[in-house]
């Protein structure tokens, strides 16, 4: 299942949009024009790009605080996303959720959780719903390497395996859990090796290689869609800008980081597309401009949008406000 031209350009567009969105966030944050907690996904663009061309809007996705790339990849509207990050009333979640809790059922982005590992058990519920409803919807749940050490990971993979749920457990292994190196907290070299504990396929792939990532994701999606059950997929990637904006990154060796940034997957993808003749410079430039424009629009929209009013505080706790 190699990606065709449309898929490749779609992936490139997603990757570009993520990269540019991230750059804009960091720029505005650094200059003090906006304020919010920000977990940069820069360096991890390729994984969600693959899913962006493989999933349908009615497929489900669950992600984490470091979710901006997944939100964009699943197709969450940029205006709402920016407005949510800025805490505006017209944000995806009325400003109540914030960056760590984006939900957008329209695009299938169902849950963004700030609790490490907790998305996995919930993803099973979406998979169960699809199975019971007899649809062929697939659920992808993203999480980090560090999350593979928490109990919820284990319970979720076992249940998904026992019930053969159409769920893809997408471990974005960026080699750090906050400040902790993979090897210092995790007893296996490859997270995918843990699939053996559940009798399901475990696949490690270069998560920054668009073709490899596409193929691995496509296999897992096909498997899930055809009722064969879950896959534990591990994409090896790297987090360029520390755990959270403001992080001093001292625990990350400078050379290691530099090497990763030198191999920046988005420009590398661009070079490859040109070298392979998949696209011309003009095609890619057009994509880049389109992304830029969309971001300009979203930023302008979000900056101009209104903050919620304190009156709205007590709505949305229950279906009907309690007395």
């Amino acid at each position: 299942m190699t990606p065709d031209r449309v898929a490749l350009l779609g992936m490139f567009e997603t990757a570009t949009k993520i990269k540019q969105c991230d750059e804009r966030f960091r720029l505005l944050l650094a200059s003090g024009q906006i304020v919010c907690t920000y977990y940069s996904p820069r360096g991890q663009e390729i994984i969600p790009s693959a899913f962006s061309v493989l999933l349908r809007p009615d497929d489900y996705m669950v992600t984490t605080y470091r979710g901006l790339h997944d939100h964009i990849g699943k197709g969450v509207d940029l205006r709402g996303l920016w407005a949510e990050f800025l805490g505006k009333r017209s944000g995806t979640c009325k400003g109540k959720g914030g960056p760590m809790h984006v939900t957008d059922p329209t695009s299938g982005l169902m849950v963004t959780t700030g609790i490490v590992g907790s998305g996995l058990p919930i993803a099973n519920g979406f998979g169960l719903a699809a199975k019971l409803a007899g649809t062929d919807q697939v659920t992808v749940v993203n999480f980090g390497d560090g999350a593979s050490n928490i109990g919820a990971f284990h319970e979720a993979l076992n249940l998904a395996a026992v019930w053969k749920l159409p769920v893809i457990f997408m471990c974005q292994n960026n080699r750090y859990a906050e400040h902790t190196k993979l090897a210092d907290g995790t007893s296996v070299e490859r997270i995918a090796m843990r699939a053996a504990a559940y009798g399901i396929p475990g696949v490690t792939v270069d998560g920054n290689d668009p073709i490899a990532m596409y193929e691995a994701a496509a296999t897992a999606v096909r498997r899930a869609r055809s009722g064969e059950g879950p896959t534990l997929l591990e994409g090896i990637t790297y987090r360029f800008f520390g755990h959270i904006m403001g992080d001093d990154m001292k625990y990350q060796p400078a050379e290691e980081r530099q090497a990763a940034m030198d191999a920046d997957p988005v420009p590398a993808f661009r070079v490859w597309l040109l070298a392979e003749g998949v696209a011309e410079e003009v095609d890619l430039a057009e994509i880049e401009q389109r992304c830029d424009a969309a971001i300009d629009d979203a930023v302008a929209y979000a900056l101009a949008a209104e903050l919620p009013s304190p009156d709205e505080l007590e709505d949305d706790v229950y279906a009907e406000n309690l007395a």
Binding site: P121, L159, D315, V317
Partner: protein
């Protein structure tokens, strides 16, 4: 009761009433599903048989035995609920909810709010609960106060089989996550249960006994102890009004205040440990609203402030019993 006409009620123990509620909800609405440890009939239909027969009637797709993985159970219920189902998740004993508090409190409770009402989590979590069976400290807790402290959850505790059926039905069809607490000691006590559809709305307390001298507010199986204590008190000329809250969230504060405004004295009784129990919240609220008409302080009677002991005389001393209720009520009236 005449045998010639279709009876309106049947005598059932609470556990059977619960079974009927689920059965009828599943029959009525295909979105209702059940998941938990040993809930299917191949696993015996639940350790207390609360789900007996359901997988046979409704299929093992909809009545699903799970591994011992409470986070996975509640998580799967949450996801399926957001996707349109109405899952009933069983946590075998209330104490075990401690391993799933993250799913219950950080997710089920908060997802509606965090999504700005784009998603809802209409799940029901059933837990058998409580002391009195000599199960020791890890199988006997009443933890409703934890959950009442979490905005977004509803908390329901029935005192009798009919209410168990009617309240559980409300929980299943409620749009919000409900925790439904079933005291094991009540499971096998029979009571009349309406046949067919029976709904008891959440947030409506019941006056179980009318009285003028004090109001005893309680919930769950302790309501029955309060009623028996009231009989004893009546022999001394003390007429207690006994309220059964049925749901703690939503709380029928109006009903509570109406009664206490009349009697001017209140005693709250529950099984949970007194310190930071739900009685504290009730005491505070009653006092805030009725201070000027109260004849004395709101009194609380709950379990002693210790882990639940194993040995019978200790467990008895731990629990609030009928005699303690009588004593506490007397002190309230004498203030």
């Amino acid at each position: 009761m005449s045998t010639a006409t279709e009876p309106q009620t049947v005598m059932l123990p609470m556990v059977a009433a619960i079974n009927r509620a689920i059965d009828e909800a599943m029959t009525k609405d295909p979105r209702v599903i059940v998941l938990g440890e040993d809930v299917a009939d191949s696993e015996g239909g639940g350790v207390y048989k609360a789900t007996m027969g359901l997988s046979t009637t409704h299929g093992t797709d909809r009545v699903r035995s799970t591994p011992i993985s409470e986070q996975a159970i509640v998580g799967a219920a949450i996801g399926a609920a957001i996707a349109g189902f109405r899952p009933i998740a069983e946590i075998m004993m209330f104490d075990f909810i401690a391993v799933a508090m993250d799913q219950v409190c950080n997710h089920a409770a908060k997802l509606r709010y965090m999504s700005g009402s784009q998603t809802a989590v209409p799940i029901t979590i059933r837990c058998s609960a409580g002391a009195g069976m000599q199960f020791g400290a890890q199988h006997s807790d009443m933890l409703e106060a934890w959950l009442c402290h979490v905005p977004g959850l509803k908390v329901v505790i029935p005192s009798n089989p009919a209410d168990a059926k009617g309240l559980l039905t409300s929980c299943i069809f409620d749009e919000d996550p409900c925790v439904f607490v079933e005291q094991t000691m009540s499971y096998f006590l029979p009571g009349p249960v309406p046949v067919g559809e029976h709904v008891v709305p959440l947030g409506q307390a019941a006056v179980r006994r009318e009285g003028t001298d004090l109001t005893i507010v309680s919930y769950g199986r302790q309501v029955n102890d309060c009623l028996r204590a009231s009989d004893a008190l009546a022999q001394d000329g003390i007429e207690a009004e006994v309220l059964d809250l049925r749901s703690l969230v939503p709380l029928d504060l109006d009903r509570v205040l109406t009664s206490v405004a009349k009697t001017r004295r209140a005693l709250v009784v529950h099984e949970a440990v007194t310190r930071c129990g739900f009685g504290a919240e009730l005491s505070a609220q009653i006092t805030e609203h009725l201070f000027d008409s109260l004849a004395g302080p709101v009194a609380r009677l709950g379990a002693k402030n210790v882990p639940v002991p194993y040995s019978m005389p200790l467990e008895r001393a731990y629990l609030p019993g009928r005699a303690e209720i009588v004593d506490a009520a007397r002190r309230v009236v004498e203030h």
